[in-house]
């Protein structure tokens, strides 16, 4: 035992010394539900790591707190009619944390890196259509695309397209994910196991920002422990807040609840190639058979809104559908009878094995039993789901009948809300069209929408697509969950954005 005791003692003493109080500086602690995976945004596929890298890094575009596209490192842009050539004028007098100037060459280095499949970056698809980047002058860059792509600015606003210091890319190579150097409001300090520390960037290009000296992002996986941190002021912001813990935040004078709509659509995809779901009347009947208000109450304790089109209302080009599938059992039964299933039928529903998903699936099961549809709920562990649902090579081989799922379109645009899920050319394993839904009108609209940068034309295309999808009902449209978080009342200017990301550029502690 003696062997262990010495390093232990040393560790404890060192820890005590480090934990001395700091009164003057403004220190913010944020409680996260999970560990950060990497800080190379081009290689990140989870929202949490994206939020973490957004404290330090920025792209040409970004989103404001309402998910509206805003220019960041770009000042303005022009695009040709064919949506194949974009020219960006870049912000001047911006430097990376390591002193390297931000310029067109830096953008080129980053975009060429991301677009090159040989680099095997997880976000390569954001710039897969990039054919060539041309440095026009120090503050102007042109992107030439191999095919028309109308949502490029949205793709560039995605955290995956944020800009590293080219010097850091060269210095750190493969280790860049541990040494992020960007142009953002905070600079990297350290990242150990489950704690990331960043500090104020004194030379930030937005005057007067940031106001916080140090930010610590801490992974605290247990909900109860996370809320305890908020109650003891060890953390000033925690997320997500489970609906059942909302009352604990509301009961505390020093705390404040954040409750805002997300861009996460919840739905049940029905395999439209399989009986009985090949009949639109059956799919509509199932939509009528579910009380969406009850869904929000049972599954999200009321913290959810309606999914009133194929995409959530916070996504660009969303159109609320006029004919909602309002809860109506008589109508549902009539439609089922008309389709030849007066006594209902039996079916199996897949979905993830998390508590929330299982609760959602059981709710759907109970609701559909009212019209004689007997569901078997089969929860799948994520790896199994991958093999059984997303990795299936041919539509004929698909065993999925119904899939309880969710989707968050991280570009904030209708394209990424529709194309991966409901495009006739997007069956697994290419994309995630697990409804195996194929409609020529919708396909044409989705293709038109992405082939132009003309906002009016895109709006029209997505209006057509949403209308047709709504009529065909390849999904049971369940709802859009709210984002819930708890924060100290002393914390201001800290935003929990609809895509689940955190924005702390303007954060301040009173």
């Amino acid at each position: 035992m003696k062997r262990f005791a010495l390093p232990l003692l040393a560790g404890l003493l060192a820890g005590t010394a480090l934990a001395g109080p700091a009164f003057a500086a403004k220190d913010l602690v944020v409680g996260l539900p999970d560990n950060i995976t990497t800080l190379d945004p081009a290689d990140i596929n989870d929202t949490l790591s994206q939020s973490a890298s957004r404290t330090m890094m920025q792209g040409l575009f970004g989103f404001d707190k309402d998910m509206k596209l805003i220019p960041l490192l770009a000042e303005s842009f022009t695009v040709n009619d064919a949506a194949t050539e974009y020219t960006y004028r870049l912000r001047k007098n911006v430097t990376f944390h390591d002193g390297t100037p931000f310029n067109a060459q830096a953008v080129k280095t980053n975009f060429d890196r991301l677009a090159n499949p040989a680099n095997r970056l997880k976000r390569q698809s954001l710039l897969a259509m990039l054919a060539e980047t041309v440095v026009v002058d120090d503050t102007t860059i042109t992107l030439k695309l191999s095919q028309p792509f109308g949502a490029l600015n949205n793709n560039l606003a995605h955290p995956g397209a944020m800009i590293h210091s080219p010097k850091a890319l060269e210095t750190f190579g493969k280790e860049i994910g541990r040494h992020p150097v960007g142009t953002g409001p905070y600079k990297f300090v350290s990242w150990e196991a489950d704690t990331l520390k960043v500090e104020k960037n004194d030379k930030y290009w937005k005057p007067g920002l940031p106001k916080i000296d140090h930010v610590t992002l801490k992974s605290v996986p247990e909900n109860g422990s996370r809320i305890a941190m908020l109650q003891t002021n060890e953390a000033q912001f925690i997320y997500p807040l489970p609906p059942e813990m909302v009352k604990m935040v509301e009961a505390n004078q020093a705390l404040e609840l954040i409750d805002s709509p997300s861009i996460i659509a919840r739905y049940v995809a029905m395999n439209t190639m399989k009986k009985p779901f090949n009949d639109p009347r059956v799919r509509q009947a199932l939509n009528y058979a579910i009380d969406k208000n009850a869904y929000a109450k049972v599954v999200y304790r009321g913290y959810a809104g309606p999914l009133d089109s194929a995409i959530p209302s916070k996504l660009g080009f969303h159109v609320t559908q006029p004919n909602q599938y309002t809860y109506d059992l008589a109508k549902a039964k009539a439609l089922l009878a008309e389709a030849g299933y007066p006594n209902g039928f039996e079916a199996e529903m897949f979905g993830r094995n998390s508590t929330n998903f299982i609760r959602g699936m059981q709710f759907v099961q109970q609701q559909l039993s009212q019209i004689g549809v007997k569901l078997t709920v089969t929860p799948l562990e994520s790896g199994v789901e991958t093999a059984r649902v997303w990795g299936v090579e041919k539509p004929e081989d698909a065993t999925v009948q119904m899939q309880y799922g969710g989707w968050s379109a991280s570009t904030g645009d209708a394209d990424w809300g529709l194309r991966p899920l409901l495009w006739g050319k997007g069956f697994p394993p290419k994309f995630f069209n697990v409804a195996y839904y194929k409609n020529d009108t919708v396909d044409a609209a989705i293709e038109t929408g992405i082939a132009t940068a003309d906002t009016a034309k895109r709006a029209e295309a997505y209006r057509v697509a949403q209308e047709q999808i709504w009529k065909d009902a390849p999904w049971i449209f369940l709802g859009v969950e709210n984002l819930l978080a708890g924060k100290s009342k002393k914390l201001t200017g800290f935003y929990y954005v609809a895509d689940g990301g955190l924005q702390m550029e303007e954060a301040d502690l009173q």
Binding site: M1, F4, A5, P7, L8, G11, L12, G15, T16, L18, A19, N35, T37, T38, D43, N45, D46, P117, R120, K122, Q124, S125, A128, K174, G177, R178, E192, A193, D194, T195, K218, S219, V220, P221, E222, G224, S225, A228, M229, Q231, T232, E234, E381, S382, G383, V384, E385, T386, A387, W390, G391, W407, S410, W416, P420, P429, K430, F431, F432
Partner: protein, 306 residues
């Protein structure tokens, strides 16, 4: 003794080799496509294929095993599929927190368990025995996540004495080590009590008493010394289990240890990390077993290895 130790140490290698085959096979039998999981929920098929090549998962299994073994021999376990960091770093930074917490928990739990066990055994049937065993049974019965959250609520939220969670100062050790050690203390207490009662019936104990050896000496020297063998076995086993990292305690108290790393890596199908962790756990057990055998000889000089 030395010869014995060298022989035992040499025997570790073939054992590890066999374990490596099982670990590799087991990990690759897990359902699910790691390339797709690593690539993320909204990755396209093209992205998935890139990731697959990147991870070398497009190679035949035996090639992958050969690569794994060749690297493992050099103490190199490749890079985590998830974080792309070297696995040795990934595990290294979490090993010490788990080790420290395990040692702190084991020390107090073993001492407390011994004391309660001896007290219960010597005062058998009296109130000390009843109190001791109620504590022991509760220690086993309380779920640690529940106990952990209750302690956080009391000591951090209500009283403000201790930090809720995290790792760093000595205050951070109090609640996790109490939670982690309670079950061990309970097991130790029950184990000590029964071992003690059994030994107390032996002839030599009766003889010692009969010839007038003071009670204190009978208890602590004649009885406890002989009861130590099963107790050491138990301590070794518990130590080995705790070194694997406690998932529940690490989760409740956000302790950056190996247990959470294992769960995370299984969820992500982070093959390289899972393999290295399981090999590490196996190695830990082998070494602990060896130490336990050595301790046997120290506790009872009649045991000799040759």
């Amino acid at each position: 003794m030395l010869k014995y130790l060298v022989g035992r140490l040499a025997g570790i290698l073939p054992v590890l080799l066999v374990i490596s085959v099982f670990v590799f096979g087991f990990v690759h039998l897990l359902p699910g496509d790691p390339a797709r999981l690593v690539a993320g929920p909204d990755a396209t098929q093209q992205d998935v294929e890139l990731v697959r090549q990147d991870l070398g998962l497009d190679q035949p299994l035996w090639v992958q095993y050969g690569r794994f073994l060749g690297n493992a021999v050099q103490g190199e376990f490749g890079r985590s599929m998830k974080s792309k960091r070297p696995v040795s770093q990934e595990i290294g930074e979490r090993f010490m927190p788990t080790l420290y917490l395990t040692v702190v928990a084991m020390v107090w739990a073993t001492l407390a368990g011994l004391l309660i066990g001896v007290a219960s055994a010597t005062k058998r049937g009296r109130w000390q025995d009843h109190v001791g065993m109620v504590v022991a049974v509760s220690g086993i019965a309380f779920p640690s996540f529940w106990l952990g959250l209750l302690m956080i609520d009391l000591f951090s939220v209500k009283l403000g004495w201790l930090p809720t969670s995290g790792y760093g100062t000595w205050q951070h050790y109090v609640m996790p080590s109490l939670t982690l050690g309670l079950g061990v203390a309970a097991v130790m207490a029950r184990f000590t009590r029964s071992a003690f009662i059994e030994i107390a019936r032996e002839d030599y104990v009766r003889t010692a008493r009969a010839k007038g050896v003071p009670a204190r000496l009978v208890v602590w020297k004649h009885t406890l010394r002989n009861a130590l063998i099963p107790i050491i076995t138990m301590v070794g086993l518990q130590f080995g289990f705790l070194l694997g990292g406690s998932i529940v305690v690490e989760t409740v108290f956000s302790w950056p240890g190996l247990g959470r790393l294992l769960v995370d890596s299984v969820n992500y199908r982070d093959y390289t990390v899972i393999q290295a962790e399981i090999l590490l756990f196996s190695l830990e057990f082998i070494i602990i077993n060896l130490l336990v055998d050595v301790l046997y000889a120290l506790a009872n000089p009649e045991i000799r290895y040759s």
